[in-house]
Amino acid sequence: MNETVISVRNLTKCFGNFRAVDGITFDVGRGEIFGFLGANGAGKTTAMRMLCGLSCPTSGSGTVAGFDVLREGERIKRHIGYMSQRFSLYDDLTVLENIRLYAGIYGLSHRQTLRRTAELFARLDFRKERSQLVGALPLGYKQKLAFSVATLHSPEIVFLDEPTGGVDPLTRRQFWELIYETAAAGTTVFVTTHYMDEAEYCSRVSVMVDGQIRALDTPAALKRRFCAESMDEVFRLLAREAKRGD
């Protein structure tokens, strides 16, 4: 691994007596596609919030994009991109208006905005869609657009929270091509998913169980270690040990 962009040590988050995230430790390198798996309630969302600077850890330490997760939450936010299935774009704004809004939020200059917007449209092959309302786009287009908007400001890391839920298999694959492309260009991709075949696309995968990281390696190494045919099997073997629900 060359340069480290996420590095956390014993990161813990408690809600009262409940240890939602229980001392996780890992590093993610530049340009990696890091799969962050776990059953519902394993603590993925809580962990991801801490990494995005949205929630302050109870204990432990770490840096994201070179900033401290305990003290520099605001600066982290400027250097990462975030996309989730639930909230991504405003349905009642057009594609172009959404892009301008995000460019404004991340403080891109007028020239940068113009250039990156042109690149984005070329990459997604958007023509007449530019001035359409986002709400009128097919789901697949929306997801790809949301991803491109989340990386508009060339963040060091982009966090994707179940980005492909419910989209058709072809779009899902096109989406993963976008992810590949982004990672190849040096942006780290941190992704959660319920599709186990998607775990196979990742450079490395971690599996969270009951707030702890139970396994972390490349998909191939994990399959060897658990004598499993697929990541699905690996995941099931690990998640079956879970003691708590969500």
Binding site: N40, L139, V167, D168, P169, E177, A184, H194, D232
Partner: protein
Amino acid sequence: MNARYAIEIDGLTKRYGSMTALDRVSFRVERGELFGLIGPDGAGKTTLFRLLTTLMNPDEGTAAVDGLDCVASYRQIRSRVGYMPGRFSLYADLSVEENLAFFAALFGVRVADNYDLIAPIYRQIEPFRTRRAGKLSGGMKQKLALCCALIHRPSVLFLDEPTTGVDAVSRSEFWDMLAELKAKEISILVSTPYMDEADRCDRIALINEGHLLAVDSPRGIVSAYGERIYTLSGGDMYALLLAARRLPHVRRCCPFGAAHHLSVDADFDAAACRRQLMDEGFADVALQPAESGIEDVFIKLMNHE
């Protein structure tokens, strides 16, 4: 009443304004069958469910559930079917047992009457019976919703995306429960956007953008529509993907988990292509013939409409 088919749909069409949500869809579900409706969001799955559960009327075509027409006999249908809508549809502020009791009352039965049917599922959530439904975990909510949909012993069960957003383990458990219900002679129509769940169904219908792509058993669909597929892996997967698309006689190449899937012409020469990729500098190139899966078929069918 013993209708031959649990569900019979013929030329069913539904439009919302200028948008056609379902376009001349026809298929039949046998009694006691576990039938999967597989397609992405926006394919028209929920619309089909709403037509069959008599929540909406079709613009064209006919549909019958349990031998009863969905338009003319909608009241009778409503007492015979169980329906679990796509989103969480229980009362979050009522406890597990209060929810169950209410849904029993809704259908004019007592919980005890059909307890045997739900017992295997209900027993798993019984320890939490005084807990508010809103405080249950995703998997438990789903089990409670299934109990509530079953409490009146419906003859046909409609489950709209019961496994969406649920982790792989809970999903698998849910399918085990459905297999048990099928053994109790309940016909089940279940929809899912997860293609890997297709194998758990007796028969499936692939649906996309309101059109039915294929109806058959999962195996039957693969053998009818499957094509020559090669898996390709090795080295830098993204660069490999781009390189593979330039190979001769490759129709399509998509990333597919651990390996890329190449759908190829009859003239495809695997050995030559492997050599070519090695020459381009890719290490450990593995290019092997493989069987198509449901997803391969789906991608093929949605491209070649």
